[in-house]
Symmetry: C2
Amino acid sequence: MPRWNNAAGVVVARDVDFFWDIGSTNSYFALHLVRPIVARHGARLISHPFNLGYVFRAQAYVLMDEPPAKLSHRFVDLRRWAERYRLPFRMPDAFPIKTSRVLRGALAMRRIGKEWPYIDAVFQAYWEQNDASIADYAGLHPIVRRMGVDPAEFEALSESEPVRKKLIAETQGGMARGVFGAPTFFVGDEMFWGKDRMEFLEAALATPSP
Amino acid sequence: MPRWNNAAGVVVARDVDFFWDIGSTNSYFALHLVRPIVARHGARLISHPFNLGYVFRAQAYVLMDEPPAKLSHRFVDLRRWAERYRLPFRMPDAFPIKTSRVLRGALAMRRIGKEWPYIDAVFQAYWEQNDASIADYAGLHPIVRRMGVDPAEFEALSESEPVRKKLIAETQGGMARGVFGAPTFFVGDEMFWGKDRMEFLEAALATPSP
């Protein structure tokens, strides 16, 4: 498990920034694929929930407007990824969904110290269990309750001005760094887009930072 | 080098259909990446030159209209692929180019029995040596002459009605099979799109055909 020394010879863990949206199929895969990589390299995965729909609207990009042949091949390809990596993925019946509550919920759970278990739970609910109820608080409440968090506290924090501003800041901050889709990763200034670039991401982690 | 028996127990090589356009950056990479795979599996690579520009126009897709952040990341990503696979790739100064003469040229060279050396030569010229002259016969003539082919015969064949019709048939036949971009591969009915799906293509070759 290599770690890198900084200029003072102190061992430092490297950060992998992970820009994700719960509405992004490929973020689901990336969440699972990136973990063994960061573990192998003693790196730290930093969550950046961001509003992919906002980014797409800024680009005038509409996924469902893709050519039918391309769209239908997406599903074939996703099934291959699920089989290859033995993930219990299934395409949700309700897609796309409004994702901002889930995203703000992650930022709220961060303040409560339970962001990663929450992320795992919402990705599992939507992308494995076909549960689109997470788009609203009614679906999120039982999830946070199981984590020992008071749903009312969670909702109030999710709707709070600082959390709203943080989601906007993550989204605009991502765009300022060049994010145009999800998943997007950064190792330092190096950007990696897509679930299918893990090999390059790992190579960047295996290279000492300058 | 596994080969598969057909129902009569006769050993048969499997075919990998390769839909390519000289104007497709990713077809350049795929041409190099697919070869060791077909060799490992004793498969046969079947060339299908097709008019990607026609397909894109049918889809109203314009590469250069992509969001600037996405376009600029494409170049970063291509550089990574070139380094990873030690390919002397360079982005041509003239891009995109009109590709129909190169494509018909491949079909002409097929009739002369020299399609693959021609394909290698035109991809090398455009994607390694920044030579956009191949878009016209002036640039193609020296290439075929080096292969012992009379340039006048090559040009006449390339411009002939059967070759023109064949390119249209390949393009429309590809679209009928679901081709929406390049490179696209088929192993039987299974379609693979992109230079970054070689792992899945190889898995298909490792599976006995039904």
